[in-house]
Symmetry: C2
């Protein structure tokens, strides 16, 4: 049988343990969505007592928001890297759309959608969702602005167009 009896305690530096707990939470969110992020589930995943999770993360709402921000941040950076490898604005937009729809990001769709839904009951999460939305908007808008400068695109409102593009890509 598996370790039913209490295994010996392993004592770690607070920073390390805190990181482990966030990592465990992030892994759960990635695999099962934000709604699976419960105090006890994180404790099991990190192989610690539930009280320790609460010790390092006094508010589950905050942890959910943190994990959401981390996951989306990672994705934004990833996309920025892909897009940064291209210079031509039109090609950039194409690369952006391609990488966002290549199917490897389906896992994160649950996080996006659940994040949006849960934000209605979690202020910290609502803040994170809004912040990450703006990051996307900024990224897309800058590409469009570049395109306008080089003459590849033409619009008087890059910001608006950026929002619409994001919406469409999200929908698809």
């Amino acid at each position: 049988m598996s370790s039913t009896s209490s295994r010996p305690r392993t004592r770690k530096a607070p920073a390390e343990r805190a990181a482990e707990i966030v990592a465990a939470a992030t892994a759960i969110a990635r695999e099962q969505g934000l709604s699976a992020l419960t105090l006890r589930a994180v404790a099991v995943r990190a192989d610690v007592a539930s009280g320790l999770v609460a010790h390092y993360q006094p508010s589950m709402d905050d942890l959910v928001a943190r994990v959401y921000a981390d996951l989306v941040d990672e994705e934004v950076r990833d996309v920025e890297r892909v897009v940064g490898a291209v210079t031509d604005p039109a090609a950039r937009l194409g690369a952006l759309i391609d990488t966002l729809m290549d199917g490897e990001r389906e896992e994160l769709t649950v996080v996006w959608v659940e994040g949006w839904a849960m934000a209605r009951r979690n202020d910290a999460l609502a803040l994170a969702v809004r912040a990450q939305m703006e990051r996307w908007q900024t990224l897309v808008e800058s590409i469009i602005e570049d395109g306008c400068r080089t003459g590849a695109f033409s619009t008087t409102e890059p910001g608006e167009v950026a929002w619409e593009l994001i919406g469409m890509i999200d929908g698809l």
Copy 2:
């Protein structure tokens, strides 16, 4: 003070009471989303004991699925009516997009998103979500097919295009 003491029971025909309960649930979902659909919340709204809700709706999962289906069904019919008032395929598509984005449907966005998210843990709801998606797809596809016949549109895969259109509109 409000009716703290037990008010006299009102006994109704099962069909009528059942309808009232579904109506109460639908109202809650419309105003606060599917996640607010709890046994007790419905009971309060319908002004009955919690046990009565459970009596007419033995499974809350099923009730959630039912309410979701009802709400989306209503919306589809509404859109069909609007679209049906126009004959030209291109104008139809325009009317469809216009009515879907006129802001009056924002209330239902929560239902859409929560439905999608909750479907992962509610089989009956998952079924309803899939069914309603197909209704949308059929509606849009038929418009596109009409357009292809009259020469207004040209695509070899109306079905695919329909899905993409739905995705974009959802995103926006």
